[in-house]
Amino acid sequence: MKMLTQDEAKRICDKVLSLSRADECRVQINGSRNGNIRYARNAVSTAGLTQNTQLTVSVAFGKKQGTASINEFDDKSLEKVVRRAEDVARLAPENPEFQPAIRKQEYKPSATFSEATAAIDPEYRAEVAAMSINAARKQGLIAAGFFSDTTGFETVANSNGVFGYQTLSNLGFTVTTRTEDGRGSGWVTRSANDARKFDAREASEIAIEKAVKSVDAKALEPGRYTVILEPAATSEIIGRMFGAFDARQADEGRSFLSKKGGGNRLGEKLFDEQVNIWADPWNPDVPVLPWDSQAMLARERADVIKGGKVASLDYTRYWAEKQGQRAAGRHGNMIMAGGGKSTEELIASTKKGILVTRTWYIRMVDPQSLLLTGLTRDGTFYIENGKIKHPIKNFRFNESPVTMLNNIDELGKPVVIGGDEVRFQMLIPPMKVRDFNFTSLSDAV
């Protein structure tokens, strides 16, 4: 079905709220159109378009809550979804941690929609793939890539008069270019909310250059090295750390932010003082909705790490009430301050070090110390006297982001990164980090 306008969405919300017989009712409508094209071995493998609009209704009788959803919007379907939610709520046990629907919120609009992204059509996607494939073919290389664009809207409303509607768009592109003999591999990632900021040709050339330069990798002994981590290499490492910023986990003693003897480590200096990270829904490079879809609370600009100190933790409404704190909307983006230097300039000022393009298969080894393991991939190089000397074999690392962010030498200019397994939109600088812990070699190219 077509995208709903604000008036259409409001009419549906009002109708749903009027149908509810429960003590309270919350409504959310999400609509999206996702287009994508996937290619491998220098040919398109799949191309698709998915459109969906979904209505989710949650009602409560006292502390008994039920949720149902549907993707049909005629009067009969609206009535059906409300009754289903009510049926589930009646069957559900009381939840002692239930929080009533929030009071009316002020949602200050953010620029999450771009006409240029919404205008992307199958020809545009095919052109991205063709550009990438043809550039690889010319050099006798093999490209495998994925381009995906989404345009949509979100509406939230409740029986206390909350209402929000906003349109959004974004795109993502990744390509891996490999040499025919499989000895070289390069990769690049790009994400943007505005298609005018995306250049498939420029991106593809970077993957090609890295593929060509990564042939004949030499083995370096595992150990602690100074590394220059490109933003895409740290996005998931940092993203996983913010997954552990939950106040309740910390207060309950089961987080790296738990304090010995009880309580949490809010205000403590755990990182290098160059580390400044905040959330800001209105940042023009990584705009996100001005509300948290789950709680419908308005989002705020908030410092998360300031001057290396833990500046705030995430509170659910239940835990905030219990601890006498104030809950705000969960963050949707993470912005890390940097300097003005590009990755190339960071390399130029490095005597000996390793450039990491991409990290892969990152998993938590120990939540106590946030120890993560993972591997480098698709462009790992040895740096000597300010220049890339030669490609090196990939490494496995075992490192905690807490240690990594304590060992910062220098930060470069932040860029936009949308991670594969991270829920945040991120703006992250390339980083020069001391003593990064590589524990074994991998033969993978």
């Binding site: 495998a144 591997l375 075992n398 397994e421 524990t439």
Partner: protein, 545 residues
Amino acid sequence: MERRSFLKVGAVAGGALLVPVFGNAIAAEELLNPMAVQFKKSLADAAMNAATKAGATYCDVRIGRYLNQFITTRDLNVEDIVNTESSGVGVRVIANGAYGFCSTNVMTLDSVADAARQAVAIAKANSKLQTEPVVLAPVKGVGEVAWATPFKKDWRAVPIAEKAEMLLAANKAGMEAGANFMRSMLFQVNQQKYFASTDGSYIDQDIHRLWSPFTATAVDKTSGKFRTRDGLSSPCSMGYEFFDCKPENRIKAAGGVTTLYKGAYDLIEDARAAGRQAKEKLTAKTVEPGKYDLVLSPEHLFLTIHESVGHATELDRVLGYEANYAGTSFATLDKWKSKNFKYGSDLVNIVADKTTPTSLGLVGYDDEGVASRRWDLIRNGVLVNYQATRDQAAIIGEKESHGCSYADSWSSVQFQRMPNVSLEAGKKKLTPDEMVKDIKKGIYILGRGSYSIDQQRYNFQFGGQLYFEIKNGKIVNQLEDVAYQSNTQEFWNACTALCDERDWRLGGSFFDGKGQPSQVSAVSHGSPTTRFNGINVINTARKIG
């Protein structure tokens, strides 16, 4: 890759948790009414006729109704109960030698015919960048047939209250035994899948799966230390009888360190053990890094098999179709062609199948209408085959597909997915206790923990849930901070002993992720308790700030 594709269900619910989205929430009473087969056949015929008329040389139609129920609990509270339903039709065609795919949730003759025509148009557009035409290995049409997961007790008919009570009883047992916090979940899946193709097949399948994971957490506030122990259950293709655990379903682990399960599961008993063991982990001895002989229980080894053999022998990875995300494979065609590539020691025999009873891969037919089968991947340590779909079979000289095609929804396009990949039991009589007796310096590992492997499946690092030190043939104490790092070929060549058939059990992954956009699938891996000599073990304890 073992990874979950998580979105939020019940996003507006106060206590909403991260659970996978499969579709829309529905009322329980509607779950039991299946769609009429004749209706599905008429939709499929409409799509195939429209596709053929528009110029398709091949067309398959998948009509799906996916019903799921998820229950999530935290300590003594039920946090969320979600019923979901998703229905629709996916049409795949070949035209001008290229694939095209289109799906719709509007289930009318006109709508599916329109989707078929769009799929043909997409195929024709894609053919312009095609370098070689798609050729499908032949499949003989099977006419109108039906297949269903064998089960005794339908999860859809078990009252929600009974399920919630079981989860809360497990949480209570864990907390009474030593855990400070408990989380438990119940995932229940029913896939009603109808497949039709221009080869003359009309296949109606009804597939059921279950999983009940939990985590027990113990905290020592004084030292600031916390430890977790996850459940040791295996997800399975069974009905709710999975929870009717009888004495014969219980197995004593080596040295009697804990109870394990086969064919059924006692969630409450395992939660009680987990509460006690999570607390014990707080004071367990930290491991001395070095080389150890590892004794890996099936509850742990399944994930190592999954990552280092399952994914490495996927033919689409080997050929480069997954190069941009999941990666390629070290198990290249030249190694297979040599007929002497030693993947593992002579004792290592690894088979693929979609036929093992109660396994997650168990189906009658795959999503290309190919009947399920069993075949060798590694025989006497040598790489002998891969996992292939219809368009790949000819590349490895097979006359037929292995039946490895799968799509996670009517709305997603089918592609090569892993069947069950299992390690055969040893031929000589051997129990886990007898295996331990022969070991001077070793570690016994149970349960799935941290896992990571490179994009060509060489270098991996795995952890578990429970570790026990073996000294001079005896299990002496519990260990902590253990992970082992190895290389796939070295590791499998270090396999020196396997317990026999009596000890063979399935483990499984409920949410295995692959592809762009990512799709999930469920797959099992069987093995006996197995010994690997001289594996590098690291200590994962770190101090921060």
